[in-house]
Symmetry: C2
Subunit: 302 residues, 2 copies
Amino acid sequence: MSQISSFQDLKEHLQKVSSRKKMAVANAVDAHSLEAVMMAVESGIVEAYLVGDAATISNYDIIANASSDYVHIIDIPDVLEATLEAVRMVRSGECDILMKGLVNTDVILRAILDKEKGLMSPGNILTYNAALNIPGYHKLVFFSDPAVIPAPNLEQRKAIIRYGVAAAKKFGIAQPKVALLHATEKPNPKIVFMQDYVDILESWRNGEFGDCIIDGPMDAFLALDKERGAIKGVETPILGEADILIFPDFQSANCFYKGLVSFAGAGMAGLLQGTDKPVVLTSRSDDTESKFNSICMASVLA
Amino acid sequence: MSQISSFQDLKEHLQKVSSRKKMAVANAVDAHSLEAVMMAVESGIVEAYLVGDAATISNYDIIANASSDYVHIIDIPDVLEATLEAVRMVRSGECDILMKGLVNTDVILRAILDKEKGLMSPGNILTYNAALNIPGYHKLVFFSDPAVIPAPNLEQRKAIIRYGVAAAKKFGIAQPKVALLHATEKPNPKIVFMQDYVDILESWRNGEFGDCIIDGPMDAFLALDKERGAIKGVETPILGEADILIFPDFQSANCFYKGLVSFAGAGMAGLLQGTDKPVVLTSRSDDTESKFNSICMASVLA
């Protein structure tokens, strides 16, 4: 396959392969989720199973006027019950993707993490992988973790990288370039995550992460900006070509992407990682387009 | 005075007040520094004392062709000696501003931190305060610390806020709005800097920071983006109106600003803080314009 370099590419790729994924939406009773879901249904990307209060769901014009064979309503008015049923449908294989509707994040995470009935295989690590489509950058860039693990330990960082590399490969990037981000390219032994970076590079040299290029620590200029990065005179095979940004902690990832969404017109998509099936878990402040992009990202990874 | 809301405003303000500051440039032998210095000289903003190898300095066309009475060359070929002399000129009051030329950061920091001959008063904390001019944001926004203190402790955070508030007031902002940034507005007691934020808010309520508004934790949407922030339904007097961003650590501040410089066309200025006089200490990857902006920022704070 050719590389998916933008969210427009992503949508076109999915329309071309034309294999609808089945998506269960937990408590699909809010307009924002339903809009994004219906965009994905109408674009030929998913078949939607809307779990929640059927009266409320059908009351939305966007559902009432839908003539699609690819929208099903499962009438479960109770939020918790609806969430558990959506998780069950994905766990059982009836559906390929789980999406959060109007449910508190805590509630759906508890259902996902449940050892008997959830979506986590033993040993997996729950984290978040997101993709940014930045006008001015020549391709999509994946980044983690802006939302779930505040300060990853070494094992968690390694899992974050593994999930990121796997996602990038599904987007057609044969040998993803992974930048271990920091404020500078200078290692500082007083900073806790620096030793993790050293260990990660050693594991990478030993082949632990498969076919990819990992380098760091480096700053955002070296990772993403060929011109400003080159001025630094630092040798790196990544220089302005990063496919994956590994941030030191979730506040740095979070501030970074929100600045670019607000002021650089960047589009955003994101998924939980470490789950057996892709989970779309967007937040209130994400617009319909980012929810749609996230559904598309889930469809490629499903 | 009216509020300075952009770097264009800043330049015009300085040209209107028309009081040149005297600036000593430590080892002023590189083209990048000299270009920015000469922009400031020709704009009527500074009188420059270029300390370094006179033959090298005069060899640049930009200096050879300058007919300004406001450029002086002090011939000291040795880098360390030139640096010490520039620091001495500022310490003695002969100059108002120190600027780093082609000197390693370590070398000039050591000279600044020297207890006998440096620029630090006892009890002051060396940190970095920067300003961003983001197209799409309606005013300048100060932020700290992207460069000097990796993970500030409570005392350092308080100093960072005090310096930020003082700077904002010199830019005509009567009651600066200070956002304590994080990935989310939800406090998380497991995260180390959260208790600092709680303590800072209590000190602020007790009047410790003077006339300003401090709130947090909050994310970048709540601080800077009225529309996306409002969707969160969180009450804050800052909502999309932050004048000052206090980042949890220097990697989050650094990644944030570099993203906006690379992809949102943001302009940047920055100064060391905690020194007795303003110090312009820009880095290799800063362009001439950000060096010029930093000189302007120093002139307002001098």
